[in-house]
């Protein structure tokens, strides 16, 4: 690891809240974000026409549903890792 410029400990610029936040930043809930990352990569699984939805092939509507999935997951991770005051 590279050398780091020394800084007094505890550093006066940060309080207990920052340290709590640092803990939250490493929260395991973040692994949930892997779901919307992996989902779009599984092209062979969703590259199909059936089942259709209102005449829209599976390939298209399932990816539009994927958008909702990514929004819900991200919002969930945000709520679960939030530091409340």
């Amino acid at each position: 690891m590279p050398p780091r410029t020394p800084r007094p400990d505890p550093f006066p610029g940060y309080g207990a809240r920052t340290r709590r936040r640092a803990g939250r930043d490493r929260s395991r809930w973040h692994w949930l974000l892997a779901v919307p990352v992996v989902f779009p990569l599984l092209t062979p699984l969703y590259d199909r026409a059936e089942p259709q939805l209102w005449g829209i092939p599976f390939f298209y509507w399932v990816q539009l549903v994927g958008i909702v999935l990514t929004m819900v997951t991200t919002a969930l991770v945000y709520q679960l890792t939030r530091v409340r005051d």
Partner: protein, 548 residues
Amino acid sequence: MHVLAGHRIEFTVFAAVLALVVMLGFWAARWRRPQDMHSLEEWGLGGRAFGNWVTWFLLGGDIYTAYTLVAVPALVYGIGAVGFFAVPFAVLTTPLVYLLVTRAWSVAHVHGFVTPAEFVRARFGSRSLAGMVAVTGLVATMPYVALQLVGLSVVLATMGITGDWPLVAAFTLLAACTFRSGLRAPALMSIVKDLLLLWTVLAAMLVIAMTPRGLANAFRTAKEHFDLTPNSGDGLLLGSANHLSYATLAVGSALAMFAYPHVLTGVLAARNRATLQRNMAALPVYTIALGLIALLGYVALSKGVVPLDGDLNTVVPMLFHQVFPDWFAGIALAAIGVGALVPAAVMSIAAGNLYTRSIYREYLRPHATPAQEARVSRYASLGVKLGAVGCILLLDPQFAVDLQLIGGVIVLQTVPAVGLGLFTAWFHRRALLAGLVAGLLTGLVMLYQIPQLGADGRTVVRAHFGGSAWPLSHLGLPTDAAVYVGVLALVVNLAVAVAVTPLLRRRGVPSGPDVTHPEDYTADEGDPALHRMTELVDGDAGLPTHAR
């Protein structure tokens, strides 16, 4: 004016909306008026104080550009399923960028960074690595600005306006209002853009809903159309040959999104971490709009829309002409027009900031005052816009498209230093530099090897720089699959960086000093460390830590 024949009402509405938006851009200088506009924090980042809504509009305007709005449905119209990659790309972007930008925001606020290159300088203590990151970012951003002009000229062409002067006029006005108001101009303009866009998308949905059997019919005609074409690469579905390239293009573009300097500009202007995180979760709403606009490609096919002069990018504007009344089409086209101006402004500001902080102050004038920085950045962003106009007028617009393709690949090569650097300082600065150079070279060579194919999918139209999917058969693999060049180059880049780091450590080559601390990456609004930062910025010692 005879060229406007039949488009008079449309053009009047279009021009009026654009004029209104530009006026708003000028007025933006007074919006949340800072005590002093003459610092880079104020001019180039809007005072780093944008809240939920403004950040939402700005980032949306920044990422979903006019070119995206015309090029994505054009691809869907032309080749079908492959053009839909913009949707999985955005699905992937959200979680990846969520993780990266919150840390980037914190460390940038604590240390006063305005650009990714400054972070690299502080984290790895290397001027040359930071310089390379800055130059890569600049080279990638400039054609992106030019591409917005291509988007604007497509819209103008469908109204019968082909001369150069309207483009020059629009960009001159944009340049003037950005020069005056800085990031506040595109931030305000993006709000109007979104209202126009929402209007357009809803109207387009209405059109689809009103046609008998709507989308189902569009998909059926599109399928019949693709079955008749000789090209095996098109169709309603990807087909196994396209699986890998579709997925890698989505991943590569998502990571590149983070690496583009203009996205970070929008991010750093946010007020606090929560604003950013909430926005990341909500931004995909734009993707739903983009997905629906992409499907307009099929609607255009089923309605028998013929692109103007064979330019596929004109498909959506032509569709608007066909299905909307004139005044309505004028508003819809203005949405695309403003959609070109907003990102062009943010990109040129980002490029200006990059030049100022990582080249001007690093190499030319190390003790520049904040006022000098703001001035240099203003003129640099002006220069970028002029360069973009020149590129379009003097050279072939196709050149801008090619450069943009290359830009996406090369900007991706800064991800190990900028992205992984947010999580670890393990990499040796020289290893990162070697990886970056290796990645850039690999990417360029691979792009050079890709020919552009004609409509039948076989004849070679152009021998080089014709696409970004690199066939794995080049490696002697018995497959017809292809991979996005950017991702392959990034793999080479990372492999070099990982392999060279322990070698340099063993040989005792000193690492650069890391002036950031672990807590800096989670600092938030309200922390004393950030308050001190604000005081430093407001005073005349607004220097990032590494330069103090």
